[in-house]
Amino acid sequence: MLSELRINLEFFLTDWLKIDELLQRPRFADHSWESITDLLHAAERIAANKFEPYNRLIDTEVPRFDGEHVILPKATHDAWDSLVEFGIFPASQDHENGGMQLPQIAEFAVHTLFAASAVAMCPDVLTESNASLLVAYGTDMQKKIFATSEFEGRWTGTMALSEPQAGSSLADITTKALADGDDFEGDAFGPRYRLTGNKMWISAAEHDLTDNIIHLVLAKTPNPDGIIDSGTRGISLFIVPKVLVDLDGKLTEHNDVALIGLNHKIGFRGIPNTSLSFGDGSYQPLGKSGAVGYLVGQAGDGLRQMFHMMNAARIRVGLGAAALGYAGYAASLDYARTRTQGRPMTLEGRDPSKPQVPIIEHADVKRMLLVQKAYSEGAIALCLYCARLLDEQKTGGADEMRKASILLDTLTPIVKSWPSEWCLEANNLAIQVLGGVGYTPDFPVEQFWRDNRLNMIHEGTHGIQALDLLGRKVVMHEGEGLRLLEEEITGTIERAREHSELASSCDQLSVAVQKVREATAGAWSTGNREEALANATPYMQGFGHVVLAWIWLDIVAATTPANNPITEGKRAAMRYFFAYELPKIDAWLGVARDRVPVCTEMQDSWF
C-alpha cells in the first residue's frame, strides 16, 4: 500500500503540481527533487516498519492510567522516537527557527505516508502545530524554550480549547486567568497568570512519551476594569507547561494541572484523550495553587492566534481523513483482487461448473473501488493543493501571496470537511467490498472507519465548518475568496479545453460554478442570517463537490494521457466524479439557494 501511495504522491508533486518550478525559488535552494524523493523513501520505510504494523495494537492496547502516569504501548514510544530522529517536525520552518525550509507540499506528502499507516499513533500534528503557533506569535524566549523543545521532540504539545459546556461555542468558555502578583509582567517567559477551570476532550494532554507537555490554553482574562467579556474578546492564549521549567528549560516542579480522567473513544485510540483540571490545588507551583500560564501575544487576542494553530490543524485533519480513505481503498482493492465469488453476467457466467471470479470483476465492486479512489486520491490532491498555497504564501510575489492567503482561507472549511465526510464514506465502502469479514476486526477496514469518524467532529464540527464557509469565507472581503476560486477554476477550464475529450466536462464544471454563485447569492438575498445559514451544510457539500470536480479536471488537464496505469486511473476517477458525483450538487445547492425553510420550521414537539 505504502509504495503505491508514495508513487501517487510523487505523481501529484511532479506531474501535477510541478514541484520543480517551486524548487527554483530562493527559499528552497537547499532542496532538489532528488532529495525530496529520498525523503519520501525514508518516510515510507519508517512508516512501513514503525507505524503500519502497530496500527491494530494501538487500537487494542489503549492508553492506561496507573494512578500516576498515562502509559502508552512500547510501539508508540518506538514510533515517536523514529519520527523525532527523522527530524521532520521543524522541516518546513525558516532556517532562523531551526528549520530546513522544506516546501510544505513535500512535508504534507511525508505526513500522508504516516497517516495512512497509523493515523492515531502519536501527537505529532499537535506538537508541530503548537510549536508553529509559538513561532508565529511567541516571544524569543517562548520560542527558544518551548517551541524548540517541541520541534526536537523532547516535549509534546496540546491545544486546550474545549470545555464541557463550550465545544463549538468557544465564546462560552469559563476557564479564567488572573495576573499572578504585582510582578506578573516581569517573568522571562511572558506575563504570568494563574489559570483555573476545566478543559474537556484535550488530546495527548497526559502520557509517558516525553517528560513535559506544553498546553496551549484558551482562558478569559478580565479587562482593565476587572470585567470579563462574555464574548470572544475576553479570550487570551496561554502557555501552560505540565511541568514548570527554569531559564535553561530544565524541569523544576509540577504545575497545577491535573488529569481528571481519560475519555474512552471508538477510534483514534492510540492518542489519549483527557479531561483536565487547571488550578484545582492538586499541586502548588511557586508556593500556591493555580496553574501557571504565560500569556502569548496580547490579552484578548487568544482566539485569533489559536486560529493559526487550528487552520494548520484543519488542513492536517483533512489530510489524515484522506490518508485513511486511501488506506481503506488499498486494503479493499487487495481483497477484491483475491476474493473469488460469483460469476460474470455474461452467458458464460451462467455455467456453474466454471470457476468463480475475483470480485473485482463485478461492475458493482469496481464502482465501490472507483468511488474510494476518486474520494481518497482527490482528497489527498486537495490537501496537497492547499499545501502548495502555503508555499505560495511564503514565496510568491506580493500579489500571489495575498491571493494565496485569501484562497486558502476560503478553502480551509472545505479541505477540513470534504475529506472528513467523503473519505469516511470511502471507508464505509471499503467495509462493503469485504462483505462479512469487513465487519470483523480481522481486517483493518473497520478500524479505518472508526478512526475516520472523528474527523467530522473535532477541530470544528462539520456544521461549524459550513457556517464558517457560507457565513464568513464566501462573503468576506466582498466575496473575493469566491471570486478568486472562480478565477482558478476558469483557468483550469481554459487549459482543459485544449483537450477535446474534456470538452463536456468543462461545460459541466462551468455550469456547476455558476450554481455555486447562484446558491451563495440566493442564500444571502434577503440578508437574513438565519435564513441564509439554515442550509449551510448542504451548501458546503455542494461547494465541496464542485471544488473536487475542479481538482480532478485540473489533474487530468495537467498530465499527459501517457498510456500508463497511473494516468489512466486518474482519468477514470475524473470520469467517475463527473458522471456520478457532480450531478448531486443540484439537490444540495438548490435548498441553500432557495432558503428552503423545512428544517428551521421544524418544531421540537413534532419530532
Binding site: 537547499d30 532528488e34 524523493t37 529520498d38 523513501h41 525514508a42 519508517i46 523514529s82 530546513m100
Partner: protein, 259 residues
Amino acid sequence: MNVVVCVKQIPDPAAPGSLDPSTHNLVRGGKLILDDSDSYGVEMGLQLAEQAGGGEVTLVSMAPAGETSGLRTALAMGAAKAILVSDDTLAGSDALSTAKVLAKAIERAQPDLVLAATESTDGYTGTLPVQLAELLGMPSITFAKKVLISDGTVRVERQTEAGYDDVECPLPAVVTVTSGVVEPRYPSFKGIMAAKSKPLEQLAVSDLGLTSDAVGAAGARQEVTGVSAAADRQAGEKVVDEGDAHEHIVRFIEQLKLA
C-alpha cells in the same frame, strides 16, 4: 577502522519488474534503490566504525547510468563517501565479472574490513563476496550475525542451521552479513540533506585498469539460457480450529523440517 560496504542498487521490488526477453536479464530502467539486504551491512559498518572510535564507512557500488539513489540512502544513513563504477560496457555482467570490477574499486579504498550482504535481492547468486575475497587475496567469513574487531582480528558469530560457530581471521577480510541481524538506522532528514555534499567518486572501467573485454557481457562466464514462469501458488490447507489447531501446527512444522 576503515570499512568498505558493497552495496547494490536494485529496481524497486514494489514496482513491477520485467526481464529482457532476449538476454533474460532484469530490466534496470528507472530509479534504483538500496538493496534492503545491504542496509544491514551498512548499519554493521557504521556501528563497527563508531565502536572503533574512528575511521569511516566507504560504499562501493556498480550500477548502470550513473545511478546514485541507493548510494544516497546509505550516505544519508551515515556512510562517509562512495565509489560508483558505472560504464555501458558493464551491461550483462555476471557475478565473477562484477567481483573483478568491485575488487579493483575496493583496492583504492584500502579497507581494514569489507562487508557485503550474503546475497542480493534481485540476483540471489550469493557467490560474489567469496569471489571478491579471492580476488582481493583476503580471507572471507560468511553469514555473520555478530562481528567483533580487536587487535587486527575479526571475530564472527557465523550463523548455521543449528545455531552459530565462532570463527576468526586476521584483517583485512571480507565478511558477509546476514539480513536482520542489526536494525538498520533510518536516514534522517538532516542525513539526507548532508548526503548531497558527501564525496561520490564515479569511475569508468578504464579508470580501474580493466579492459572492456574482461567485464560485462564480454567477460561473463555465466549465461542465462532460459527462463520459465514460477508455478502458480497452490491453495493452502485450511485448518479449522476445533480445539486441536496446535496439533495441526506441530505436524505442519514437522513436515517442513522433513522437506
